[in-house]
């Protein structure tokens, strides 16, 4: 015997997936502790304050929205498994979103939380493709996307069996890729199905207070169930012996032990904790440990008026592209402004007379980690300012025109994250928000009592992240008694 802390389960990372796993385990009487390196929870979906103003990061919208009474979808499963009442999240629906392609968004497909809207838009813009689109939708609906041992197939190949127009194909892939794909240019079909359902067949919503409310609900459930949480307390090493994780060494040097360890920090990131001298595999020789190649920048502009006052009141999210073929890949330069995502969080339907106190205009574009990582501090700041302007200028082409002076006058402050910010605050190698390209559906690692959850287990989006934590806690620990 020793005096070190011992837990039934230790969880690394207090993001959505780690918190969800923790709630399940604590609820069923396991002695659980979550170790989080930062002083804030949420991981990739969190918030921070600058000068008293709170900025949300990650979450644009909660995907997978279904109205009360619709059952058997990811959102319903999640609420049941975590014993969350629907009203606790108080979800407000999007107004409408758009996929806009062409230099000024000439080809546009609107979608809402009613799938019939997208179907009608496809029929109107791509009449020759509507039968194929319906057949594709049927294939998506009947696919078993929660199977933990499905064989990977190319989504591009499946989609091309149904659709002959590359423009429509790209327009459908654009939102699905931006909201969760860790692979370039193509997706695994199972991931495509999950995202198609999450965005198109289900939909977007958010609580009035945004991600903060989701995190508060999760924390309260976890605390009430008796879970422990240690903040500013990262794990720097996983001690292994005979194929098992035997102890965790914390940043402070303290050691703790646990029967089971669940890591939400990513597959190569977890491997590094197990093996001294491990460096991420950029060569691709060991595909299981590849680092994701996709990273992002996001510009955040805080406005002194609602976006509607600028004529930007109708769209909640806009997925845009003006390249001839949509190129979801690591850019050659620091950023690829040709495509991206605009989020106007004010444009959710918060109910009569209720609006966010300030306007928010966010734009996300693909970025390349390496050139950002190498910059000295002063040059980094200068590049941020330059790229901010480039990204915002590109995105504004897809919104009703507002002249520069008016936008400048409406702007209270701005901020921006880069691939470097992502690595600093989440620990993800390469600023890879969506993690490594190879997912580990069963969450297994080389160690018999160490499991993965979250991004690299491969359920996508914030609802997916929580379901990942739930599934791994159930599958590896609770079902075994």
């Amino acid at each position: 015997m020793n005096t070190r802390s011992h837990y039934d389960v230790a969880i690394i990372g207090a993001g959505m997936s780690g918190l969800a796993a923790g709630i399940r385990l604590a609820h069923f009487g396991k002695k659980v502790c979550i170790f989080e390196r930062h002083n804030a929870v949420g991981g990739l979906n969190s918030f921070y304050s600058i000068a008293g103003r709170k900025f949300d990061v990650g979450l644009h919208a909660m995907t997978n929205f279904v109205r009360p009474g619709v059952k058997g979808t990811p959102l319903t499963k999640l609420l049941r498994q975590l014993r969350i009442e629907r009203d606790e999240f108080a979800l407000c629906e999007q107004k409408q979103s758009r996929i806009a392609f062409g230099p000024r968004g000439e080809t546009s497909l609107r979608f809402t939380n009613d799938f019939a809207v997208l179907e009608a838009e496809v029929a109107a813009r791509f009449p020759a493709q509507i039968d194929g689109f319906r057949a594709l939708t049927a294939a998506v609906r009947s696919y078993d996307d929660v199977s933990l041992d499905a064989q990977p197939i190319s989504a591009r190949e499946v989609v091309r069996r149904h659709l002959a127009d590359p423009l429509l194909e790209d327009m459908l892939f654009c939102p699905l890729m931006y909201y969760g794909s860790a692979t370039e240019r193509d997706m695994e079909f199972g991931q495509f199905v999950i995202m198609f359902k999450a965005l198109f067949l289900e939909g977007f919503a958010r609580p009035f207070e945004g991600v903060r409310l989701v995190l508060r609900v999760l924390l309260e459930k976890y605390r009430a169930a008796g879970g422990e949480r240690r903040m500013k307390c990262g794990v720097k090493q996983i001690v292994t012996r005979e194929g098992r994780a035997t102890a965790l060494v914390l940043d402070s040097g303290e050691e703790i032990t646990a029967d089971h360890v669940i890591s939400s920090i990513g597959a190569p990131e977890t491997e590094r904790l197990c093996r001294a001298g491990f460096t991420p595999d950029r060569s691709g020789l060991n595909p299981d440990l590849q680092v994701g190649r996709l990273s992002f920048v996001e510009t955040i502009t805080i406005l002194n008026r609602q976006p509607a006052a600028l004529g930007w009141g109708s769209d909640t999210i806009i997925f845009f592209n003006d390249a001839e073929r949509f190129d979801y890949a690591r850019p050659a330069g620091r950023v690829d402004p040709r495509s991206g995502v605009i989020c106007l969080p004010n444009n959710f339907d918060f109910g009569p007379g209720r609006e966010l106190s300030e306007g928010v205009f966010r734009v996300t574009c693909l970025a390349n980690y390496d050139p950002w990582a190498a910059l000295p501090e002063e040059a980094y700041r200068a590049e941020k300012a330059r790229v901010f302007a480039e990204v915002q200028r590109s995105a504004r082409r897809f919104l009703p025109a507002v002249d520069d002076a008016t936008l400048a006058d409406a702007t209270l402050t701005t901020d921006m994250f880069t691939p470097r910010t992502i690595t600093k605050f989440t620990g993800h190698f390469g600023g890879a928000i969506y993690g490594a390209p190879v997912k580990h559906r069963q969450g297994r690692t080389a160690l018999s009592n160490l499991y993965l959850c979250g991004t690299d287990q491969g359920f996508l989006g914030i609802v997916g992240a929580m379901l990942s934590g739930i599934s791994m806690a159930n599958y590896h620990i609770l079902q075994r008694g």
Binding site: F28, G29, G72, L79, R80, Q81, R83, N474
Partner: protein, 87 residues
């Protein structure tokens, strides 16, 4: 415990894990799956809540005994009555 009380215990558990289901007209002789939207995750939760709240163990080979309220009562009532009396 009577069989009716046992059914009540099971219904209370279902009400907590699936608050969005209407339990006012559950037929005791019809499979729960056929009248409520419960998936395998929900059935696992019924088993785990029985263990957590009532110290009743249901081994995996007996899960089919929980198919309907009647079969739950048949299977679980003797287990409840075999529990050591609470002091």
């Amino acid at each position: 415990m009577t069989k009716d009380e046992c059914k009540q215990v099971v219904l209370e558990i279902i009400a907590d894990i699936a608050p969005d289901e209407d339990l006012s007209n559950v037929k005791p002789d019809v499979r729960l799956r056929d009248q409520l939207q419960l998936d395998s995750m929900d059935f696992l939760d019924i088993v785990m809540e029985l263990r957590k709240r009532h110290s009743i163990e249901v081994p995996e080979k007996d899960y089919m005994q929980l198919a309907s309220l009647d079969s739950c009562a048949e299977y679980l009532t003797p287990k409840f009555n075999a529990l050591p009396a609470k002091s």
